[in-house]
Each structure stands twice: as C-alpha cells, then as structure tokens.
Amino acid sequence: MEKLKPRDEADCLEIVKWAVADKKPLEIVSGGTKRGYGRPVEAAALADVSGLSGISLYEPEELVMTARPGTPLAEIEKTLHANNQELAFEPADYSKIYGKRGGSATLGGILAGNISGPRRIKAGAARDHFLGLRAVSGRGEIFKAGGRVVKNVTGYDLCKILCGSWGTLAILTEVTVKVLPAGQRILTVIVSGLSDSDATNAMAAAMGSSFEVSGAAYIPADVSIKSATDGAIAAIRVEGTGPSVSYRAAGLAEMLKPAGDCRIEKTGDSRAFWRSVRDAEFFTEHRDRPLWRVSVAPMSGPDVVATLRGQADIRAVYDWAGGLVWIEFSSEAGDDAGAGIVRDAVRPHGGHATLVRADDGVRRKTDIFHPQDAALAGVTSRLKDGFDPERILNPGRMYRTV
C-alpha cells in the first residue's frame, strides 16, 4: 500500500486529486491512536497528515487558537497551560484501550472523532469548541467554513458536520478552536457504596444543583481502579477558583451525605482519577474483549446496564452523570460482540451505542456506529455525496457504503 505523508495543504490537495482521478480510496490518519475505532477502512493508500503540524495563532485574551490538525494534543495543552487555559471539552486519549502508548493524539484526530471527556456535561463537546476550518474535500477542492469568533451564524455550520465525521467528508488542513481559562483547583466528592441506580440519582441531584459540577462518574465495585479501592464509588468534580471550589465541594458533600459515605479528594488525586475516567483506563487490560461506548439519557444508564447484566458477563463504568456508559464484554460476547443485545437494551431509551473495540473480523461484519433508519441513512449518504462523491475518503469507516 502506498503511504504518503503530505507536508501541507497543497500536498493534501494533490493527493486527493490523484485519488479521485485514479479511484484510489485513501485512509486518512493523523496520530493513529484511534484506528481501531470504526470499521476497518479498505484503502489503496494511506495519507498520514501528522506532518501538518504547528500552532499558527494563539490569542489568550481572545480565547482562540488556530493550528494545523496534526499538531499533537500534548503541544496544544502545554501551550495553553502556560497561560492557565485549556480545551474545556477535555479531549480524551483512547490509545491505551487499543494497547498503544498514550501521548500521540492530535487535535485534528480529536475533532474528527468529536472526542470529549468528563467535562462534556458542563462545557460541551469538542464540536461546541470548533469554530473554523480549512479542508480539502473529496472533490479535490479546498474550502473553508466558520471563522475565528465564537458568535457566528454566517452560512451552514460545516464545522459541526465535519466534527465527528471520522475523515469521511474532507481532510482537515487547519482548525480554529475556542479555548477557556482552566480551573485552578479541583476537588472531588466521593460517595461510596452506592448501587448503580442510587449513584445515578446522586449524580442527577448534583447536576441539578447550583454547584456547577464539571464531572460525574460512577465506578461499580467490580471495576478496579488504581486511585481508590473502596468498592463502588460515585465521583462528583468541581473546579474553579479556591474559595468557590471549597464551598461547592462542601455543599455537595452535605447534600449527598444521606445517600452514602462522603469524602473529598484533593486536587492531585482528583486529576489522576479524572484522567483515568476520561481515557477509559479501566478497560485497558483485556484488549481481546469487545468494548462499547453507549450514550443515553443519564437516568437510563443503569437500566441499560441491568438489562445487559441479565444476559451477558459485562463490566460497566458510567461517566457524564450516567449518560455515557462504557461496557466491556467478557470474551464470550459472540460473533457480533454483543451488538444485538446492546442495541436492544438501548432502543427503549433512545440513544446510541458504538462498538469501540473488537477484532477486525467482527468490525467488518458488525454495525460499529449505531444503525440509522432509512430516512436518516438517506441524508447521511447524500451528505457524503456532496463532499466525497467518489467515496475516496476513509470509505466505510462509519458505514459500509459511506
């Protein structure tokens, strides 16, 4: 397979033009940390865009940064950190789920997958921070969309549709994101010994309070974690400036005391814990086991898990106050990695389930992304036609014919 390493936008354009003319499907990779996410791409050539790297504009007072998509997330975060800022959606690094070393995720890859961490429930997703772009579409044309300002309704919001399109519509060549001040202090209120549904109720109460919760996760007793070994825990995070954080953590602990034993964890321990939630580090040990990422209404999380526990040997972790459930099957999940029962369990609640990890054979045969009904699939397919009519950009990564 031909492997190409474009240096800039002009190279990307050349590659796409060639691919279109010669009908050579391309697999687009940047840091390559999420190649196991999605259906395997059957490509004639690989385009590694990690060479399109570097921050080209950063104005802390304007809360804006422009970078080439191959810029390592580590570099972005280091630059922001020097100004007490951050990407508020808390981009995750899923490398370890796939047995890779962490640290090579890039900004472009994060945006292409719309990957957000625990703070998603307060600050929004990657897509909410994606302000502008330049890209090469599958038509072999350079286009731009959005801008460098937060408030912008000029034309269709193409940033939204490219975010989470997994490289199937265009190759990003420049991205502009909103950045925000970072919380200087973190405290985590830990409530121990709760059942799944009691934990979800506690998290809902916390989210419905005025304490500005920036993370709410539940780790059941059968999932081992490094930072705490005291059985099932619900963890509620608050961030911000000193006195406010103490006040809010104390208020939450007071409020949740009737639910179970409460304690407050300090900044350092909190950071490590939330990093492990963000990167789904609970599921890095058994990489032969299928792993699902399920998004449902927060209060539905325990129902989905209970239904599945009745049918299969699974382990689950809840993030997003119960709305994001990571579900790992034991190795006997069957030919479809549990797809049938997972989607049956999700269906009555609304939401979607994505098979994040499975072997190549299963990924080729199974719907990785949630199956769409005919009307929606029609829209998806016609959108693909608009950007990539020849199906040369990551074909099949999301859906067989897209």
Binding site: R7, D11, R139, V150, K151, S295, L376, L383
Partner: protein, 511 residues
C-alpha cells in the same frame, strides 16, 4: 375567497433585492392548490384572503414586504408532513415561519410560495428534571421554556432580546444568541434533540435526551440553517439550574479603547463573566433616558459585567474586576447591591433598541462579529462612515464574544436615507470581515446579508454549503432566495472537475 394576491413583488423601496423568479404555472393554479391544501389542513388552517395574509407579509426586517401566495398553519406533524410532501410533488416553494421576529428577513414570504406558520405548535411536551431536559413544540416562545421550569429553579440559557416573542423553532433555525453566550453558549450548544420533517414529507428524529450524535452531527448542521433544510416540529433543550447569585457592575470609561482593553484584561485574568456588554456614548444616553438605568452620562463607553455563581465566588470576582477596571482607567464603577438594582442596570441595555427608536424615526440594526481587539479600529472606521453617509450610529456590543450591534439612525421619509443606511450597514459588515470577523453573529443571513456572502466565502466555499442543501432539498423548494446569493442547480453542483491519470505528486514524501 381565493382572490389572487398582489403578484407584483412589492419589496417596497428595495427593487435591488432579487428574489427567485415567480413560477407562472404555480400562480395560475392558485385555486386548485388552495383546495388541495385545505384537504390536508382542514378548518382554519389555510389562509388565502389578502387582508388576512397581510400580517405575514414581513418579519422583524420590516423594510422588506411580500404578500405570501398562501398561508398554511398546520397543527400536527402529520399535517406538516402531508403539506411538505404535497409541495414537493407539486414543485411549490415553502417558507417556514415561527413568530416572525427575524431581523434578517429569514421568514420573508414568496409570492409563489406557501408560508408555513408553526404558531399552533405551542405545547410543552415533557419536562424531565432528573435528565435536565425539556421537550417542546417549535412554536413555544423562548421565555416560556424558562417560565415552565423556573418554579424548580431551572432555566433555559440562550436569551435573545426578543425572547418574550420569539419561538424556540425560530431560535434553532437562526441559532439565536443573547447576552449570556460567552459563558452559556448559543442555541446550538443548548439543544439535544430535534424532530424534523424533510421536504419529501419524511419525518426524522435527531438526538434526544442523550449527548452527541451517533453519525454526522445533523443537530449542529440544522441549527442555524435558516429554514432551508427542513421544518422543525419538536425540540429538546438542555435546562440548567439557576446560579446561586448574580450581581452586575456598571463601569464607565473615558474611551472605548479603555473599555475594550478592560474586557481583554478580565478574560485574560481567567474570568468568564455571565454577561459582558458594552455601549458607546450615543447608546448610553438613549438607553438611560428611556429606562432611567442610572448610567453615568459623562463617559464615552460603558461596560455592564455580570458575575454569577456562589456568593463567595461572585464577591471575590467583583473585587478582581474592580481592580482590573481601575488599571484600565475606569472613571466610574457601581456594583448592584440587590436584585432590583441588578435588573435596573440591565434595563437600559435591554431597552437599547427601542430607546434608539425613540430618538430616531427609524433605525437599522446590524449584527457583525469581530475579534475583540479590533474594536477601537472598527469604531474609528465606523465614525468615518457615519460622517460619509451623514447618518448617526449608536453601538451596543456583546463585548465578551465580539458581537457588535451598530444601530444606524435614519428617516425613511427622507428620500435616499434608507438606501444610505443599507449601504452604511453593508460597509460595516465588510469591515467586520476585513478585520477577521464575520457577517452575522446571531441574526442570520436571511435576505439581508445574502448578497454579502461572497465577502466572506469563495464560490468553492459556498458550493460546499449548497451541496448540503442538495442533500436535504434537491429541488430547492425550502426557503429559496435566502442565505445564498446564487442558487445553483444540484445536478450542476454534483459534477466533479478532476481529470487525471497522471503520475502523482513526485515531491510528496512517502514512507
């Protein structure tokens, strides 16, 4: 009954605005079409009398008027679906309309198109406090959502100044903002689900009470799509718990440069205020006279900064903002001591538009966004333009996010002033783009800024947007004449312009 409406495209003085050519065949079949539509939406749901259609002839951009071909007011999603399917089959254009408060002409009717009003979709369907969502029909007003949940201490965050009248469906179509966007986001950041009817009549459900899209982010794409992609029949929004406390400060400055620098310093210090608004001298005077807000009148620029959160945090932040204001030459700082005083500080800002309306016979509200540090340059250039056109301008500015609302004052009874105001406005928007900003921050493109789109986007950029339109509405029946300066046929846009087979890129590194 069924008298033919005035077919002359009576866009008042605006002969310059070109709208899609009237479909003569459709015009000739008016009686038959009205009869068919009545079968689909029985009772009072179809309005065809000129006198009764008059109220629909414009939206908030009142300078443009056009009597619709016919008005249809469906009550159920099935009716919407049936009407759209019929329009699709018949080749009949459709203009969706919420409360008609658009300031960009998004709901301007077409002389040969159905005006599809969603006013009867006015029910709140579900409030779910545990999941923190509300599901409502699109004709529910923005403020009604907050009213429905405030008893339990919740609210819906985006608060456009028309929130008492504007509907959530219109908010989604325009991606409406408000004064709290920097901290709490625009409509697009606060909705979770939509039910949408395509022009084919197909009903699709996008999102729900859960987060993030399973496939392409249609929720994000549809928000702000100005009624060109489909008709929204249900919206699920995120509701938030009200902050524990909120206090406002008003800070006067001897120059807008100082005020702008102060905003930059506040944000640079890591403080994201709940709201941060700026007014220039003409706006301060007009607003204070109108609302007796207690604004200082000897300043060139005024900032309203609202801080919200726990009491301890708000008190701490007020102290820090006061220090920053002093360091930026503030001449006057007042902090609200109670809720009525906070409301009073805001009353002037919220009444800024009608206040200008009182000192000028007419005003034209613009809506560009700029990188904040460009403010002094933009204001200086605006003063030059004001002299050039001989028209006054007052500025209110969502300072936190760079969204500028210049209010151009004119008198439509003076020949030439409306045209001068429009030219002045277009020059301001060109200036916004020139300094790195955009044509519209929250009011939408509509017909108003349609012909300025090439200032910001190349033809290739616009073609990529129009192909999105093709994915939803290949015949271009939904709200044509809005947003895009030139409508290309989808077949034409679909063609690919690459001929190849040559030896590819000898220079690109391989590995």
């Amino acid at each position: 009954m069924n008298s033919a409406p005035e077919q002359a495209v009576s866009l008042d003085q605006h002969s310059a605005l070109e709208m899609p050519e009237l479909d003569v065949d459709i015009l000739g079949r008016r009686n038959e079409i009205i009869r068919d539509l009545r079968a689909l939406v029985p009772g009072e749901g179809v309005i065809s009398e000129t006198s009764e259609m008059r109220v629909y002839e414009s939206d908030g951009l009142t300078a443009y008027r056009q009597l619709p071909f016919v008005v249809v007011l469906p009550e159920t999603v099935e009716q919407v679906s049936a009407v759209l399917r019929y329009c699709h089959k018949t080749g009949l254009k459709v203009v969706p309309r919420g409360a008609g408060t658009s300031l960009s002409g998004g709901a301007l009717p077409l002389g040969d198109g159905v005006l599809l009003g969603l006013a009867k979709f006015n029910r709140i369907l579900d409030i779910d406090y545990a999941n923190r969502t509300a599901t409502v029909q699109p004709g529910v007003t923005n403020l009604a959502i907050t009213k429905a949940v405030e008893g339990r201490g919740f609210y819906y965050a985006p608060d456009p100044s028309s929130q008492i009248a504007c509907t959530i469906g219109g908010n989604v179509a325009e991606n409406s903002g408000g004064v709290h966007c920097l901290k709490y986001g625009l409509t697009t950041n606060n909705i979770l689900g939509l039910q949408l009817v395509l022009i084919t009549g197909e009903i699709i459900n996008i999102g729900g009470k859960h987060l993030d899209s399973d496939g392409y982010d249609l929720l994000g794409l549809l928000t702000g799509s100005e009624g060109l992609l489909g008709v929204i029949t249900e919206v699920t929004v995120r509701i938030l718990r009200e902050p524990e406390t909120a206090r406002a400060m008003i800070i006067g400055f001897p120059s807008s440069e100082d005020a702008g620098a102060c905003v930059g310093s506040i944000i640079g210090a890591g403080i994201i205020a709940g709201g941060m608004e700026m007014m220039d001298r003409p706006a301060i005077h007009a607003a204070d006279e109108f609302a007796q807000a207690g604004y200082p009148l000897d300043v060139e620029a005024l900032l309203i900064v609202e801080l919200d959160g726990p009491e301890a945090e708000v008190t701490d932040l007020i102290g820090r903002v006061e220090e920053i204001a002093d360091a930026n030459n503030a001449s006057n700082v007042q902090v609200s001591q109670n809720e009525p005083e906070r409301q009073k500080f805001w009353a002037g800002r919220k009444a800024a538009f009608p206040a200008i309306g009182r000192i000028s016979p007419d005003y034209y509200c613009m809506d560009g966004t700029i990188p904040r540090h460009q403010l002094p340059k933009v204001l200086a250039r605006m003063r030059e333009l004001s002299e050039k056109y001989g028209l006054g301008v007052a500025n209110v500015f969502h300072a936190g996010d760079g969204n500028l609302h210049p209010l151009i004052m004119y008198d439509s009874n003076v020949p030439g002033e409306l045209e001068a105001a429009e030219d002045f406005g277009a020059d301001i928007l060109r200036l916004c783009v020139e300094v790195g900003g955009v044509l519209t921050g929250e009011h939408g493109v509509g017909v108003e800024k349609r012909d300025l789109m090439p200032e910001m986007f190349s033809e290739t950029d616009l073609d990529h947007q129009q192909r999105v339109k093709c994915a939803f509405d290949a015949d271009g029946l939904l709200n044509p004449g809005k947003v895009f300066p030139t409508l290309h046929r989808c077949a034409e846009l679909g063609r690919i312009h690459i001929h190849g087979g040559k030896i590819p890129f000898p220079d690109i590194p391989r590995f």
